[in-house]
Symmetry: C2
Subunit: 514 residues, 2 copies
């Protein structure tokens, strides 16, 4: 892509805010976290948690339901009891895995502009993901469909600050044995961002690898030489790795594709009630999963991950955006830095509608993840009800926060011309800078242009219909969803993809494994 | 107050969340900022901005409208031109002021529990302040009255995380020459927190000092020996100090009371459009005001302050919670640390209702202030429309964020019992920790109990009326506003205060000066 074309492309892709003012070019693609990571534990306590996690794996072990995975662990030197399915993993095995796991992972997308590098210090955002339901102000709360999945994929494509595709919502109108075809097709044809594949057994994963490889025009060797897609691995906390997850770790590692390992540990429920205890468990499980990837193929791309929050101890309901989640995020970051691996962390909200609670919870937990130095932050936009629902409106209002984070990644110039003594000399006491030369030179590009925020005064806002941020967000997502194709695909490849799906559908698809 | 009584008092005062669970005692009173301050400028750029601010004061000067203030500056060594009213202040004068200004300021309230210390590293919060309008879901948006002021004072008193009283709203039903009597009476009789006094000329300030001194039962020497109240000084940016503000700085300094100096610099409007330029101006004005306090009485308590955000360059409308405000907050913190003075920073929102925009803007700017290491954070709860309105509901929903910040100030224990190897041993793979001994010992106190967040699932939430955070907030503020007296006052002092107000009212009150 030529320089000028690339710049135009960036502008077009950028999202409504900055694109309203074509002369303001802020790059949201390759963000470096501007904040020094914050800590909640002293260094010796980080070491103590790591040591305790190693003891969990050595002394208590982890239950691994997939026989092939137990075999790989055993070959790697772990002690396996096939009756109890418990695998005890020594610190030598973990140490070797941490040595071969890459510190920096290049992700190859459908366009060079969309390629990413995951390494500590970089910052990438994802929207909310994995929800069975979806809601918006026009159509209400409902079971998600392929149409919703496709619309949300378009929205994800539209905003530069969303760096990767992700499972978004479950299209419940498509049966499980065919679902992976349609979500992969949507990702590849509606977006050129880095795609996601669910680990629901080898047959589905093999189908998805094939579709991505062919659509990208890659040989098998080229496909396997670098990460072209990723999966997310949740352990079944406490201390259990189920069949599709273990199979996913193996399949992705062998094909050189990325696994993001994220134990989901709710303190007081599937994890100890203490932050230190929950992180000990989460860390142990992550280490076990990372080891399986490296035993399957040394050097395979894998991300550390942690998603720990608390529950309401009265009802057992999960909570997000709590002080405990922020603290757990910060502690997890310390463990990730001890390992030196790129890692994933999460925002979230348990609110039932996109109100002040929803906004505050998502932003609070996102700050926890940003200050923790997370490389990938998931559930950054749209997540409601602890992940049961993605809200189109919340998707938009949360993006304002993510775009603000992206703006915070840009430096603040303070050269003589920025300090502006001349402008200060020009404007008299009690005057204003609206017409100053210093202002006129910069006013078009000085400030972030909001996506959904309305800064008009109360009178103007009332005349314009007293619209809430939610109502304004509806207009924004509608205009994006209704716009035509935003990426240009090869007709041949789109047709070939479609033919592959028809053929595999006729063959009976690929039921998920468990 | 005895230990047990004090503990009960703390519980009662704490706000609805923690007080629902009497066994959880988290102290929101004396917070230490848990975050290392973040930086946007290199050290040499901080020095360059400071040097440029000194040049502004030396070369351009500041217009000072009050003759007495000009005289004080002149006596202190500044170069004064009475025709233009321009005061040029040399770096020797500023240097001496920065030497005599205290690094740590003890604030004396109506109860020892409410006393505060302002110094870098401490963290105190204030609600939104200074609004002519007020709004709530029951009574709508309206001009604020004394009733609103009194209700909001009760709310401020109720929540431990609000550390100081502040101007809240303007009771427009009370004429200006009598207003200070009624707001001071409300502060003293409805709260034992540190009170605020507007600088609207010496007669009003003298009245307020008298009321506070007498109500606290202090001799003049006792009153003047420590800070018993404070004022906020806004310069008229750019480079102008008006009559009541200059008079306030002098009167408060002479009486040993606290001035918080906060230039309000909107980039592109009354300040340069660049962050570095706006901070140069703001810093220069703050230094000039600090100098006036120290020239009036060396060692007088004074806080540095900065409140810089940007405007929408299309409409001129002020904006808050923007990336530019966050960056300006962080830069101001670097300047404050260069001086070593306690300092004030601000959150804010330009939204017209308490929606996702409102929540996101206030939280975003509050994070900017927290990460900037601000000692006092104002407008942390309730501020809408860039300060034209205080919302009762937003007051409550923002408090959830402030309480979360307070929780983040508490350490995260990670001793052996927190790491919980025994609990991890007890619970089998795939099991849960709800009934574990480790959980049972801690479940009552482990987690922050939310103020307004509803974590119930969608079904339960729907059965309970699908209430938004706003609607729930209405119930919370109503129950607090409608509860009886929450502090016990001396009947004699309340009567004496009332008599003083009646007497001064008969004498014609004290019109504001300008």
């Amino acid at each position: 892509m030529s320089g000028a074309k690339e710049r135009d492309e960036r502008r077009r892709l950028r999202g409504r805010g900055p694109s309203r003012d074509a002369s303001r070019a802020c790059d949201y693609h390759r963000l470096r976290n501007p904040f020094e990571p914050a800590a909640v534990f002293s260094e010796d306590r980080v070491a103590a948690i790591h040591e305790s996690a190693l003891r969990v794996l050595e002394e208590l072990g982890i239950k691994v339901l997939l026989p092939e995975a137990r075999m790989i662990y055993a070959r790697g030197g772990a002690i396996v009891d096939d009756d109890s399915q418990i695998v005890r993993i020594g610190r030598d095995v973990i140490g070797a895995a941490l040595k071969s796991a890459p510190r920096s992972i290049d992700l190859h997308s459908g366009a060079p502009l969309r390629d990413l590098t995951l390494t500590i210090g970089r910052l990438t955002f994802q929207s909310g993901a994995g929800s069975p339901y979806v809601t918006d102000l026009i159509r209400g709360r409902r079971a998600a469909t392929l149409r919703d999945y496709r619309e949300l994929t378009k929205l994800t494509q539209h905003f530069d600050v969303l760096h990767m595709l992700n499972p978004l919502v479950e299209p419940q109108d498509i049966p499980m044995h065919l679902r992976h075809y349609h979500v992969t097709e949507a990702q590849l044809t509606l977006s050129d961002k880095f795609p996601f594949v669910f680990s629901r057994g080898t047959p589905q994963v093999r189908d998805c690898f094939r579709m991505i490889q062919d659509f990208r025009g890659l040989s098998t060797a080229e496909f396997e030489a670098a990460a072209h897609c990723y999966t997310i691995i949740n352990t079944n906390s406490p201390r259990q790795l189920d069949i599709p997850m273990a199979q996913g770790l193996i399949d992705f590692a062998r094909a050189g594709q990325l696994s993001i390992v994220t134990p989901f540990c709710l303190m007081g429920a599937m994890a100890p009630i203490t932050i230190a205890g929950a992180l000990t468990l989460s860390h142990a499980e992550a280490l076990a999963a990372i080891a399986l990837t490296q035993l399957s193929r040394a050097g395979a791309p894998v991300c550390y991950g942690a998603f720990a929050s608390n529950v309401d101890m009265k009802s057992g309901a999960p909570a997000f955006g709590t002080p405990e989640q922020v603290k757990a995020n910060l502690g997890a970051g310390q463990l990730a830095r001890l390992l030196g691996l790129p890692w994933r962390c999460a925002a979230g909200s348990a609110a039932n509608m996109n109100d002040a609670q929803a906004a505050n919870e998502t932003q609070m937990s996102a700050w926890g993840a940003v200050l923790a130095g997370a490389t990938v932050i998931i559930h950054g936009a749209g997540w409601l009800e602890g992940g049961l629902t993605v809200s189109y409106e919340k998707f938009i209002t949360d993006l304002e926060v993510l775009q603000t984070f992206a703006e915070l990644c840009t430096p603040v110039p303070a050269e003589e011309s920025d300090i502006a003594l001349d402008a200060l000399r020009e404007v008299p006491p009690g005057g204003h800078f609206f017409g100053a030369a210093h202002t006129m030179e910069r006013y078009k590009t000085a400030f972030y242009q909001p996506l959904v925020a309305d800064w008009s005064n109360f009178g103007t806002w009332t005349e314009n219909g007293s619209k809430s941020a939610n109502e304004r967000a509806t207009g924004i997502w509608q205009s994006i969803v209704n716009e035509g194709a935003t990426i240009s695909n090869s007709v041949e490849r789109v047709d070939a993809l479609s033919e592959y799906i028809q053929k595999r559908t006729r063959e009976g698809g690929a039921p998920p494994e468990s």
